[in-house]
């Protein structure tokens, strides 16, 4: 059995009721007020600024505001835009900005700086705008201040700006405002006509003109989003719901205009404007829910997006975006940094390639061996010669693979569109038949026949049908958002509900993707002294040792023996050979020796996520087949599969093999749900019927995924499937209801009995029922 197989779940940490005074995380036994030195510093800083009121108001998740000991230092000065009169302006995305109190703290802390002119944070967009008078380099001080408070910042990239600058959303909201204004004011006139049976003909004519005066511009302006989309659908040769809406609204408006001119008994401007207002309300809500998800993803990407340090001939480094580096340039890779480009190094380097290959262990790369972009430097800083520019490198190749997979996926036809395809032609045929019936058979005047035909269009205008699915989407996506699941694609819920097979990646998805110490009865004091030494290294095993004893004080006089370990006086921590043990011990081990005492071995394993077996069992309960698909070696994969309770596993799969496996499943008629976090999973994620990536996934995997889990663990996945299925059921009920309502209402319209009052009551009541039904969708 492999090493991973021996990992036992760690005993749960002793629960202490006390919480850290800054970040609110649970305190380990022995800690008085703070969970770490960073929080203590942050608390002192907040108190020093006179902003202690923050702690009474914040509503953040426990642990969310823990300042990171080693925040990556990114030079923000180039991102500050200098205005006229020497005012600098900087746009930042702020992670951890999750409640009103955080906004207050960030704004006030920055405003306390003497040279800051203004600081304004947006809670929805997690966006901070700072302006100040002075040098651009002050940007780094502000970022440092926020980092000490526990907020991570990144420059607002063009992608982020696109996500939060929502011009289309604003246009929809504007249209909604205009339509609502029109609907209410036309209704004011219409009610007078409905109840004023004894009204003089001239007055009624005047009121009709008034309704037309308000109604016509409103229909023309507020309906633009529908007309545009309908025109696009028409040119593509596909009847869409928007086409039915546009035809219904325009025909109703024109018919009402002609009735106004001829002084007919009724006009239908109220119905047309109300229809637009209701439909636009659905659209605006739908868009708001998905905008939030898009923004959160863009925020995650911005925090990962980095610059590379290019070495100049004179030995200085400059920070440039990865796209601007050409093959042959030399870049500096800091300890713990992710490689943005392919390259070769002159010395041996230790890289964690879990994201690119799925291997769970970091491994050394010999001098001259190609280093894959996406791997993380686990050793000391090194200089790398870039072998391919970003657009020709392995990351770009992976992105192309992803693109092809997405194209091959074909167009998924959403349920609303499927309904529209059958609904729209039927409705228009019924309207045409109505006209023929009245004009040809009953020999009515053609105006009467036309009025009745348009009434059919109005009454069947898919108001409830068009609200049926978006209303459910808004509620379900909102419910998932509260559970930490971001839905990034419009049809993701529908596809998730129909998934019948789950394919899980191993490293980083089922496992935590980082080594954890296996408790084997080591002496606590020894462990802590070893952890004190480990503080000096960024090696993943050293970091894992430190996590096992986080309160260890830093050891004095530690120096690193490259490639072997750490030394401080007579104490040594490193590879077993370095401490005088026979080589041959398996991969993830550290040895610790103090003077002449017998060396102590620490063994590590990539730890299965605590909730992984439960999540797998829940997926099986939901009727999904579960399989494990990993790029790692057989032993490790088999062990994790056994622990998680997955009978079916495949090891050693490269990105293409993963994508092929997904395609093979689809060819069998399965609808696979792919869950993965690595760059090597991206193509498979894109090819799958529906895909999800866990917290901490690489940017490429997140872009390829339909769902992004924000919280650690997989527990949210089964509940997301339950919500999606329930939402799907409710959407079907809604569509069924709108169809039933139409079947009942159409004969009334064909018979010519629809007055504007009937149309308004029927339209509003059916929409209300559909919306109320949709409110149930957020429950599991």
């Amino acid at each position: 059995m492999s090493l991973i197989g021996r990992a036992r779940p760690l005993p749960p940490e002793a629960v202490s009721p006390a919480a850290c005074a800054h970040c609110g995380a649970r305190l380990a036994p022995g800690q008085a007020r703070f969970c770490c030195a960073g929080c203590e510093g942050a608390h002192a800083l907040v108190a020093g600024l006179g902003l202690a009121a923050f702690y009474r108001r914040r509503e953040t998740e426990a642990g969310a505001l823990r300042p990171e000991a080693s925040a990556a230092a990114l030079d923000l000065a180039p991102f500050a835009a200098a205005g006229a009169d020497g005012v600098q302006r900087l746009e930042l995305v702020v992670s951890g900005l999750s409640c009103g109190a955080c906004v207050w703290l960030v704004e006030q802390a920055l405003a306390a700086e003497p040279d800051v002119l203004s600081a304004r944070a947006s809670l929805s967009a997690r966006r901070l705008t700072v302006t100040w008078r002075g040098p651009a380099a002050r940007a780094n001080d502000f970022a440092g201040l926020l980092a000490r408070l526990g907020f991570r910042v990144a420059p607002f990239s063009p992608a982020c700006l696109r996500a939060s600058e929502d011009a289309e959303g604003r246009a929809l909201t504007r249209a909604l405002g205009i339509a609502a204004f029109g609907a209410m004011n036309v209704m004011l006139v219409s009610v007078a006509v409905w109840v004023g049976g004894d009204m003089g003909e001239a007055t009624r004519h005047g009121l009709h003109w008034l309704a037309a005066l308000i109604g016509m511009p409103v229909v023309l302006v507020a309906g633009m989003p529908f007309y545009r989309s309908a025109w696009a659908a028409l040119r593509a040769g596909r009847p869409s719901m928007d086409l039915a809406v546009s035809l219904g609204v325009l025909a109703t408006a024109l018919m009402s205009l002609s009735e106004t001119i001829h002084n007919g008994p009724y006009t239908w401007f109220d119905g047309a404007t109300m229809l637009l207002a209701l439909l636009l309300a659905g659209r605006v809500l739908d868009r708001a829910a998905r905008r939030r998800a898009r923004q959160s993803v863009a925020e995650l990407l911005a925090l990962q997006e980095g610059l590379v340090a290019r070495l100049q001939p004179d030995g200085r480094t400059e920070a440039v975006p990865a796209e601007r580096v050409a093959a042959g340039d030399r870049v500096l890779v800091a300890a713990g940094e992710r490689l943005r480009l392919d390259g070769v190094a002159e010395q041996e380097v230790l890289l964690d390639a879990a994201a690119t290959t799925g291997e769970s262990l970091p491994r050394p790369y010999a001098p001259g061996q190609p280093l894959p972009a996406g791997a993380v430097n686990m050793g000391a800083a090194f200089t790398m010669t870039v072998t391919a520019a970003a657009r020709d490198g392995s990351l770009a190749a992976m992105a192309r693979l992803l693109e092809r997979a997405e194209q091959a996926k074909g167009r998924f036809v959403a349920i609303a569109d499927r309904a529209a395809r059958f609904y729209v032609p039927v409705v228009h045929a019924v309207a045409a038949l109505t006209f023929l019936l009245w004009w040809g058979v009953l020999e009515a005047a053609w105006q009467v026949a036309l009025v009745n035909a348009v009434c059919v269009l109005l009454i069947t205008c898919p108001c409830a049908l068009a609200l049926a699915v978006p209303a459910v989407q808004v509620v379900a996506v909102g419910g998932l958002f509260r559970r930490g699941v971001l839905v990034t694609s419009a049809t993701a819920l529908e596809r998730l509900a129909s998934a019948d097979h789950a394919v899980l990646d191993k490293t980083g998805t089922l496992t935590e993707g980082r080594p954890v110490l296996i408790p084997e009865g080591q002496d606590g004091g020894v462990l802590c002294r070893a952890a004190g030494l480990a503080r000096a290294s960024r090696h993943p095993l050293a970091q894992a040792l430190l996590r096992a004893c986080p309160e260890a004080p830093i050891a004095e006089g530690v120096h690193e023996v490259p490639g072997r370990g750490l030394e401080a006086g007579a104490a040594r921590l490193g590879s077993p050979a370095f401490c005088g043990l026979e080589a041959g011990a398996e991969g993830m081990t550290l040895a610790f020796r103090e003077g002449e005492a017998a060396p102590v071995l620490f063994r590590f394993a990539d730890h299965l996520r605590e909730d992984a077996p439960a999540a797998v069992a829940a997926l099986k309960d939901l009727g999904l087949g579960v399989e494990l698909l990993s790029g790692d070696g057989e032993g490790a994969v088999a062990a994790v599969a056994w622990q998680a309770g997955i009978p079916d596993w495949r090891a050693g799969a490269d990105p293409l093999a993963k994508q092929r496996r997904i395609e093979a499943l689809k060819a069998e008629g399965r609808r696979p749900l792919m869950v993965g976090d690595g760059i090597n999973d991206a193509a498979a994620l894109a090819a799958a019927h529906v895909s999800a990536s866990p917290a901490g996934a690489t940017d490429l995997a997140q872009t390829a995924s339909d769902l992004v889990l924000q919280r650690e663990g997989l527990a949210a996945l089964p509940s997301a499937i339950r919500i999606a299925r329930r939402a799907q059921g409710i959407a079907r009920q809604n569509i069924g209801f709108s169809l039933v309502y139409n079947v009942l209402a159409v004969p009334v319209a064909v018979a010519g009995l629809v007055t504007p009052l009937v149309a308004a009551v029927v339209m509003a009541s059916s929409s209300l029922v559909v919306v109320l039904n949709a409110l149930r969708a957020a429950k599991e």
């Binding site: 009103g100 704004e107 306390a112 809670l123």
Partner: protein, 53 residues
């Protein structure tokens, strides 16, 4: 019925004012950060400095 000649224009004018107010609020980006605006009203301290965008 003569009163209609006065009352309807007045009511339409008031509604139109409301619509203009809404469009102005939209144009000045007051709908960009609804969550933040909901929380901001509870900050009782004098804000040090703030941008009017």
């Amino acid at each position: 019925m003569d009163s209609l000649l006065l009352l309807i224009p007045i009511s339409l004018f008031l509604g139109f004012l409301g619509l203009m107010g809404f469009l102005w609020a939209l144009r000045t980006r007051q709908y960009e950060d609804l969550d933040g605006a909901a929380a901001r009203i509870l900050f009782d301290d004098q804000p040090g400095k703030e941008t009017p965008q």
